[in-house]
């Protein structure tokens, strides 16, 4: 059938695609900025000795982990403003959704890291008179974080892939730009292929990094958590 590929029209609009990629990175970075501390907090609450706290935070985490992010995004974009009167633009709705959504996943990464530290470390910290927060900050987390790095980076990759959803609420990320260009140039094959390539260029090196760190940790005899 001999389709004639024509990448020229795409490369003419590469600046638009790159602007989209920048917005993709912006939303990913923003979600990390809020999602990580929120995730740490959620993990600590889920490990609380108070059963009601542990259970309710656990249900909340699982809810955000097991419902599709597109449903969450639509809920925050369309439903929340009607319920609360909070103004939502596409960027704000996306930031809120992905901060909360990724925090639920980060919570589990943190929890896995924390519980992987031997009980003796808690005991040694307490035996020299540290309180809970000091033990956590000085003894447990520094060790846990190292084991968490691969799982953590994997979550970052997943997060960046998930942010493509912001295109559905018209935030001008890479996918949104690609879709626009595809429609204006009638060259969807080239445009979507290049867009996929751009995602790949960012994500693949990160994946390789994950594998390398995992191997290195395995070599020093340290486990990693997932």
């Amino acid at each position: 059938m001999g389709y004639v590929w024509e990448f020229g029209v795409v490369f003419n609009q590469l600046d638009l695609l790159l602007a989209g990629l920048l917005n993709t990175l912006k939303i990913t970075g923003g979600a990390l900025l809020f999602g990580i501390p929120l995730g740490l907090l959620a993990a600590i609450l889920r490990l609380s000795t108070y059963k009601w706290l542990r259970v309710s935070v656990g249900v909340l985490i699982e809810f955000f982990r097991t419902t599709p992010p597109i449903v969450q995004l639509f809920w925050f974009f369309f439903a929340l403003p009607m319920l609360s009167g909070i103004e939502m633009d596409p960027f704000r709705a996306s930031l809120v959704t992905f901060s909360i959504q990724s925090s639920a996943f980060f919570a589990e990464v943190f929890r896995g890291g924390i519980v992987s530290i031997e009980r003796g470390q808690w005991e040694a910290a307490r035996a020299i008179g540290m309180n809970y927060l000091e033990s956590m900050r000085r003894v447990i987390l520094p060790q846990a974080v190292k084991r968490m790095i691969p799982a953590f980076l994997e979550r970052v990759i997943e997060l960046m892939k998930t942010t493509t959803l912001v295109a559905t609420v018209s935030y001008a990320d890479l996918l949104y730009q690609a879709n626009n260009i595809a429609q204006s140039t009638y060259r969807p094959l080239e445009v979507f292929t290049v867009a996929a390539g751009l995602y790949f260029i960012v994500l693949f090196p990160t994946s390789l990094l994950v594998k390398r760190i995992e191997r290195q940790l395995a070599k020093t005899g340290e486990g990693t958590v997932h």
Binding site: M1, Y3, E62, F63, R65, T66, T67, P68, P69, I70, V71, Q72, F74, W75, F78, A79, M82, L83, S84, G85, V115, I157, M160, K161, T162, T164, L165, A167, T168, L175, A178, N179, A182, P188, L189, V191, F192, T193, A195, A196, Y199, F200, L203, F204, S207
Partner: protein, 219 residues
């Protein structure tokens, strides 16, 4: 601002919802089965000593793991028909995107599971005079499968969530039905809440299982 809850209109649209739920399960189940089936061979292929086999397998896996599923679905819906010899409707595009995506992830699970088995197990099989296929089926897989169960359950969770992406290309799964209902009755709060809960009900048992299996394996 006082919101007047209107779940009535959502439940009145239950035939739309049940149709959506059916389509969600259809898409999820189909892609899960095909993904696991082909993933097994791709996973073994990555383990192959011949670079004619392991290199393409590796490229396939990395491409589908390192690009967004939504881009894959949209590629199959908008781009692929241009070069495809057969017609692609929304369901076919979603099934292709999610099926290949799941194949790639399952291949990694198979490969990881097989790799986690000590080399001595292969050698013991070999020493008994087993063929490669016998070693895989009788020695390696029975041990590896147990370790792979949590990862597969996790895949089920992720895949079921990903089926909602098909709404972007207007395949009538749950999320798409919610959009339809909310536009028609102007009740986004209720429609999206109900659909979120439906997804939660379908998916959370698997997540719960993962949680328990992982705790069990950690010991």
């Amino acid at each position: 601002m006082e919101h007047v809850w209107d779940f009535q209109t959502v439940f009145a649209s239950w035939s739309l919802l049940s149709q959506g739920l059916f389509n969600t399960l259809k898409l999820g189940l189909l892609t899960l089965i095909t993904g696991m089936f082909f993933g097994f061979f791709v996973g073994l292929g990555r383990y192959s000593r011949s670079s004619w086999v392991n290199f393409p397998a590796g490229v396939f896996v990395e491409v589908f793991r390192n690009t967004p599923a939504l881009v894959q679905i949209m590629w199959f819906y908008f781009a692929f028909p241009i070069i495809s010899p057969f017609d692609i409707d929304a369901f076919a595009a979603a099934a292709l995107g999610l099926g290949l995506n799941t194949t790639a992830f399952c291949a990694e699970i198979f490969r990881g599971g097989i790799q986690s088995i000590h080399r001595g197990q292969w050698e013991a099989g070999k020493a008994l005079g087993m063929t490669y296929r016998e070693q895989v089926w009788r020695i390696i897989l029975p041990q590896a499968v147990v370790r792979m169960i949590p990862a597969f359950m996790n895949r089920v969770v992720e895949l079921m969530k990903m089926t909602s992406l098909a709404s972007v290309i207007a395949f009538g799964e749950l999320m798409h039905q919610a959009k339809t209902i909310s536009t028609y009755h102007f009740n986004p709060i209720e429609s999206y809440t109900v659909v979120a809960l439906l997804f939660f009900l379908v998916i959370s048992p698997f997540a719960f299982l993962v949680y328990h299996l992982e705790n069990r394996f950690r010991k």
